[in-house]
Structures are given as structure tokens and as C-alpha cells.
Subunit: 87 residues, 2 copies
């Protein structure tokens, strides 16, 4: 595998990683064991990555962060919506 | 803020995002609501990011992925160790 292929697989995996958690939480509505900080920090972090991508005109960086942004905003919302202790 | 500053804050936030989840799970040992796929895919993904960083000699990329790698390997281990349904 070339470095570019490895980078693309890496980007794909880290982009889709939160999808199974979103599906699981949507189905169960159980959020007790989830820390709100992970989706919250990731949502803020990938938003900044996208802003950075816009500022340096890097389209792959922008595109790679769309899915994580949606997933982590939804996860943060569900953690708040379905309650439990916020920690 | 300059683009570089925004990129560095983005990198810092996404690097440390999993730490609160590791601390929470270590304390409670409750993993029922956590999908194993998120830490598993992230552990594989950030490992590939580090390999990519080594291949293109990008030290910031290598360093930025050390904390997420440790956190997600530990989270995957705890999800398996403390049981619950694996989904």
C-alpha cells in the first residue's frame, strides 16, 4: 500500500467511527455510560478542523469532517436529551 | 486567530476528546451503552494515521495520534473486559 492509500483508509475509518455509536444510541436511547465530553469535544474539534480546511482551502479536510461533525452533534444532543448524569 | 492556531486548537481538542470517556469508564466499569465499534475503528484508524505520519515523516501527525491511540485501545479493552452485548 502506498502512503496515500494508507492515509485515505485512515481518514475513512476515523470519519465513520462514530456512526455505530449513533445507531446504537438511537435504538436504545441509553446514554448513562457515555461521557458527554467525548462527542462535545469532538464536535467542537471537527468544526475547527473544517474552519481550518476552509481557511487553507483544503477540500479533503473539509469533506472528511462532515460525517464526524453530524455524528458528534447528534450524540451530544442525545446525551442531553436522554438524560443521565452529565459527566 | 490565524489558521495555524485554529488547526492547533482543533488538533488538541480531537486528541484529548476520548480521555473523559476513559476516566468515566475506568471509574464506573459500565460499558453497556458504548458501541465497541467507535473505539475499535478509531484505534485502527489512528494507528494507520501514525503509520502514514511515519511514511511521510510528519511528526505533528504522529504526536497528535498517540493519545487517541492509547485511549481507544484502552476503551476497546474495557468494552470487552467489562462485558455487555458487543454491538
Amino acid at each position: 500500500m502506498t502512503p496515500t492509500t494508507i492515509g485515505m483508509v485512515a481518514g475513512a475509518l476515523t470519519s465513520i467511527a462514530a456512526i455505530p455509536q449513533v445507531i446504537k444510541t438511537m435504538k436504545t436511547r441509553h446514554v448513562r455510560d457515555i461521557s458527554i465530553w467525548q462527542p462535545l469535544l469532538l464536535a467542537i474539534g471537527v468544526t475547527l478542523w473544517m474552519i481550518y480546511g476552509v481557511l487553507i482551502s483544503d477540500m479533503p479536510l473539509i469533506l472528511a469532517n462532515i460525517t464526524p461533525l453530524i455524528c458528534n452533534v447528534v450524540l451530544t444532543y442525545m446525551k442531553i436529551r436522554y438524560g443521565g448524569d452529565v459527566c
